[in-house]
Amino acid sequence: MSQAEAAMTATVPPRWQEAVPGAILSADANGIVVAPEKLVEFCTYLRDQEGYDYLSNVTGVDYLYYPGRDASNRFEVVYHLYSVKKGSGPLVLKARAPAENPELPSVTSVWPGAELQEDEIWDLYGIRFRGHPFLRRILLWEGFHGHPMRKDYKEAFYEEEGKPFSSRWPEGHHVWAEDRVPWHDNVNYPDDFDPETWKEPVTFQAPPDEPSQDGNGHLRTSRIVVNMGPHHPSTHGVFRMVVTLEGETVVSLKPVMGYLHRNHEKIGERNTYIMNIPYTDRLDYLSPMSNALGYVLAVEKLMGIKPPERAEYIRVIMAELTRIANHFWSIGFLLNDLGAYYTPALYAIRERELILDLFEEASGARMLCNYMRFGGVARDLPPGWLEKCSDLAFKRLPRAIDELEHYLTHNEIVLARCKGVGYLSGEDMIRYSVSGPMLRASGIPYDIRKVEPYSIYDRFEFEVPQFDGCDVYDRYRVRVFEIRQSIKIVQQALKQIPEGEIQAGKKAYQVRVPPGEVYFRIEAPKGELGYYIVSDGKPNPYRYRVRAPSFINLTALEPMSIGYKVADTIIILGAIDIVLGETDR
């Protein structure tokens, strides 16, 4: 038996090969390469027979410049599968596409949660998906020329392949980027581009003026399309919902996003590893500590280092404080969406304010903390910090959450507006790859801190909420419950935190990351936050992908909203708890 075959049998049970003959081309520790024409069949088998019901992450990689890779088959789409029922995973599938006109079958028929993610791959890599229900550019606009995540794409103001740029030192005479490249060769046009005659492609066609399907007697009604957003106070940022209405009832809804898109992942590939830490703060800017935690844990796994005990505790305290702050914020703004204009929101934000004060004292910034480092944290806690944190965790926050429940949980208006609104069953939630509080409010107690404990979460006692309402009200209750559990974790961590070092080894401004790839996910406040990193051993990551929970949770927005009134879509969106910095990346 050859070495490749041995590796294959180690990762793939023989029954898989028998189930779908010819599907598996090769396999190693990094994943199973699947033949494109058998992909859907094999995925269906994995979902139905092997229990891999949850498609966590789908992303593309362009292996054009990767050492030792065949550039003619440069595109690869990676699927990370988990089993919510059995708690196992990840199972990594890979499908390769040719350099010319890359096309792969869509897996949306197996896991509908792939919809937005495949849109994103088409947008950024130019890989088409056969059988996708609505393939469109999701982050960029329809007339955009080129696919920016391809390795040979050069963005405007392009300087060099990777930072640090050589023009900065030792001959760093300041030049404005705008002066250097006003219309230089890194601005791409299609060959036949003529600004006089060019028209922007139309993405959304208004539906024909057809009579109402219900048949409203003698009334002549018709469907109308309403654009909610992008500038709308209820959309939590610049986000647009194209809603088709029949009367006030939602018939269809398409999320449109990308107004805040800055191609975080491309920037991440230009950056060195350490430069990405402050950039992750700008993803979900309401929970910066969790974002950075996920990223450093992913790189640490690739590097094979572990932070010292004290740093682990500091990280957990920070991550849980972030969760408390985030949930306070999201509950407050859910009430705003309900029309309780700003009073409950300000009561909730007030508690967050005190948490941000703590962040500022430890890290120097309230929101863009930049506090995590590979193998530790940036600096030790300042004197008196733990006492202040104890004050909050043991006295103030438990009282605050009691008060919040006192005036909200049994409020008749909240009950009338939230109960039974935005129903989506737990099974559907899994199909749509929804994660986080939304999943737990649909009766599925799936929490990554429990399923595959990272950092030191296995040392703490806490419960995973499970509510069966599947509606907005239970999403609110899950968040209240999670705040209580996070307070409990912070209390335990404050009691146990040891003295000692906060950094493993010497702190360096350039880290060595061995070649390889890793997918690491954490339970961020908004759901499953995953980082997929491919390293080729150079100072810059070869591929840096963020599996953003607020982006992927939006896949379920349409099925949750159909059949409800247009006013309900606002709170359904509010209960997903999106942050556009992370959705658009």
């Binding site: 900065r168 030192w169 760093g172 863009l368 005036y407 702190k507």
Partner: protein
Amino acid sequence: MFGLGVIKGFGVTLKHFIETYIDDVKKIPSRYGERRGVIEQGPEDRGLFTIQYPEERRALPERFRYIPMLLRDDETGEDRCTACGICAKVCPPQCIWIVRDKDENGRPITRPAEFYIDASICMSCGFCAEFCPFDAIKMNHDYELAAYERYPKLVYDKEELTVPVSYYARLYPTQYAEEEKARADKKKAK
């Protein structure tokens, strides 16, 4: 009773309304008296947190960071910076530009001839201050930098960035003491 939940909510609002006044009365010295200016908020405050900027400001913690500053020794008048370029290499948005000085033979010497920070793209991450081996670059607390023009107001050159070490010692008392102690220990070891 139907409606009780709503009434409870009004009760909470009323409580916060009154508590805000009680907080104000209890604060010594009063924020409306002589010391109007610096506000410290904490977990013991019951009412709402409002700071009337710009008449009032929050007290900044020592580690607060905004835009970098360069340190110059008070006594000798020499820059601490040696133009090693680590800050420029670690800067995530690449906003630091350094020209290394040369002696008359054209050989590079450890002194910056020019030093620019483009404050319009600086992301205030603090990496430059964190990784500087000579404690030459630190984060300033001055956050009121608004200007009408991006150029040239927001590209700071060496003169605009340089502050005396005593200014740094005033902003960062604990950190300065720690660094001076480490420096003294190092000298002793030699």
